[in-house]
Symmetry: C2
Subunit: 310 residues, 2 copies
C-alpha cells in the first residue's frame, strides 16, 4: 500500500437517498450532511438536479444545495444531468458538479433517456460553461464494469468512451461499477486504461457492494493510484434503473478497513457509526454495512490506529 491517504466522497445524500423507499425530509437531509461533515467528510455529493417526476427523492435539490453548497473546508458537489440542471445548481451556489456518461448505449437510453453521444455532447457544453464559472467538473463513467442490459463492457468499448470523456477535459474522471460486478482484476485493468488515456486527471471510483467485492475493489483502486472513492453512510442506495444494484459500498466499512491499513480517510469511526444508526433508523431499513452491525475492533483503534510492527 503506497497511498498515505484516500479521499472518501460521501454520496449518501444523492446516490444513497435516490433509491430508498422512504423519503427523507429536507431537514433530515441537511442533518445528514451536517453529521457527515462533523464525522470528517471533506467531500460530499449533496444532491442531484433531476426532473422531480423522474427522481422524486431529489425534488428538493435547490433547497438542499442552497443550504449546503458553501460549507467551510468541504467540497460539496451536485449531480447534474443536463445544462438545465447545471443552471439550477449554479443558481443554488454549487461550485462543483458531477456528470454521468454511461459506458453502455442501452443503459444510457434507459437511464438517461439519451444516447451516449448526446450525453457526451451535454457534458462538453456544461464543461465549457463551468470553465467560465470556475466550477469543478467531475465526469462519472457509469456501468464501466458491466451493464445490466448488455452484459460485459469490453475494454475496447470502454476505451472509446474514456477517450471521448478525456477530450472534454474534466477535472476528475470516475469509473463506476454501477451494478456491482467488478473484481480487483477489473479495477486494475480499467484504471490502468484510464491512467493511460488521461494521465494527469485525478481518478475516482464508485463501487456497489452487490457481489461482496466492494471493499476488495476499493483497496485495489487505492493501490492503483485512485485518489477518491464514493461511499454511502450505512451502505444505503443503489440505482433505480439497475435491477440488480444494491447499495453503495458503506463509508464506515471503508473507513474501518483503510484505517487499519494505515491509509488516512479523515473520518472518525465512532461518530460515523452513530450517524449510520441514525440514518438507518430514519429510513426504517436494515444496515447495508458490516461495521454498523459488527462494531469496530478494538475500541481503542477508533481514535488512534496503532499498527503492529514485526
Amino acid at each position: 500500500m503506497s497511498a498515505a491517504s484516500v479521499q472518501i466522497v460521501e454520496v449518501a445524500p444523492r446516490d444513497g437517498l435516490q433509491n430508498e423507499a422512504r423519503p427523507l425530509s429536507t431537514a433530515a437531509k441537511l442533518e445528514l450532511i451536517r453529521r457527515a461533515v462533523a464525522a470528517g467528510a471533506r467531500r460530499v455529493e449533496i444532491t442531484g438536479f433531476a426532473r422531480p417526476d423522474v427522481v422524486p427523492a431529489l425534488a428538493d435539490a435547490d433547497e438542499v444545495a442552497a443550504a449546503t453548497a458553501a460549507l467551510p473546508g468541504v467540497q460539496t458537489s451536485a449531480l447534474v444531468l443536463n445544462p438545465r440542471g447545471y443552471e439550477r445548481a449554479r443558481a443554488a451556489g454549487v461550485t462543483a458538479v458531477n456528470m454521468v456518461v454511461l459506458a453502455s448505449e442501452t443503459f444510457s437510453q434507459r437511464n438517461q433517456r439519451m444516447s451516449v453521444a448526446q450525453a457526451l455532447d451535454g457534458a462538453a457544453r456544461i464543461r465549457e460553461r463551468a470553465g467560465a464559472d470556475g466550477v469543478h467538473v467531475a465526469i462519472t463513467v457509469g456501468a464501466s464494469f458491466g451493464c445490466p442490459f448488455e452484459g460485459e463492457i469490453p475494454l475496447p468499448a470502454l476505451r472509446s468512451v474514456l477517450q471521448q470523456v478525456a477530450a472534454i477535459g474534466p477535472d476528475e474522471i470516475s469509473l463506476a461499477d454501477t451494478i456491482g460486478v467488478g473484481t480487483p482484476a477489473d479495477v486494475r485493468a480499467r484504471f490502468a486504461l484510464l491512467a493511460e488515456l488521461a494521465p494527469d486527471v485525478p481518478r475516482r471510483a464508485h463501487f456497489h457492494d452487490t457481489r461482496n467485492t466492494g471493499v476488495a475493489n476499493a483497496v485495489a483502486a487505492v493501490e492503483a493510484g485512485v485518489a477518491a472513492l464514493d461511499a454511502s453512510l450505512g451502505g444505503i442506495g443503489g440505482c433505480p434503473f439497475a435491477p440488480a444494484a444494491t447499495g453503495n459500498v458503506a463509508t464506515e466499512d471503508l473507513v474501518y478497513c483503510f484505517g487499519r491499513m494505515g491509509v488516512d480517510t479523515g473520518f472518525e469511526l465512532a461518530p460515523l457509526l452513530a450517524d449510520a444508526r441514525w440514518l438507518l433508523d430514519s429510513l426504517g431499513r436494515e444496515s447495508g454495512s458490516a461495521l454498523s452491525r459488527a462494531g469496530c475492533f478494538p475500541e481503542s483503534l477508533l481514535a488512534d490506529p496503532v499498527r503492529d510492527s514485526a
Copy 2:
C-alpha cells in the same frame, strides 16, 4: 495476480454447522458434502470431533466421517481437538486432520479449555501419531488477526506461536481471522511472517466476513502465495466462543470473484448457487453470501470465464 488457481476448502459441514441455531440431520450433512463435491469441491472439512455436550451440532461426527472419509479425488479432513478426537477420527477412516492452536492465551482457555502450551503439546503428540499413520496434518492458528478478549495480537506474539507450530512439522499451516477483524495489510504482514518461519509448508487462510473484509483478505492472501482458503457455502457459520463472529466468507462469493479474476477454484458457480439455496432453506436462515442474493453476472460466465483484453 500471479496465482493460476486456489484451493477452496469447503468448511460448511464443520465450522459452518457448528454455530447454526437449527441442527442439520446426519442425512442432510451427507447431502451437503455430496453437493459440494458435485459442484467442484476437492477439499472438504467434513466434521469435527468434539465433546457432544460442548458442540452438539457435531455429535454425529463418527457417522458423518465414516460415510465420507473416502471420497474419490477429494481430500476430506476432520477437525480434531485432542488425541482422543484423533483416535475417533482414525476409527472412522479419516486420513486428514485439522487442529487448532490459538494465538491468544485467553481465547485458548475459553475456547479450548486449555493453555496455548497444552494445545501445542497435544498437537505435537497427534502429529507424531499421524506421521506413523500416514495422515495429513493441518494446524490452524486461530485468532491470528485479533482476539475478542485480548484485542490486538501483536506480530511478535504471533511470531512466537508460529515458531512453535512450525516446530511441530505440520503438512499445512493456516492463519485464521476467527473474529473477522483483519485487512489486506494484516494479511500480507502475517502471511509474510509465516512464510519466513515455515517457507516450505503450504499456507492456508480462514476468513470471516464480519467486517466486510473477507473477499479483500482472500484476494490479498492468494496474491501473497496462500494456496488454500476456507469458505462456507451460503456464508454460514461462525464460532460459538467468539461473541462478534459472523459466518465464514462464502464459497460462492470467492468462486465468483476469483472466477472473474482468472484464478481457477475448480467450482462451478451455477450448481453452487442452487446448493446454497438448498442449505439456507434447510437451516431456515437468510443468506450470508452476496452471490446467492444478487446472482451471477453475466450468466455466460458461469461455465466459461472470458477475460477482457485491452
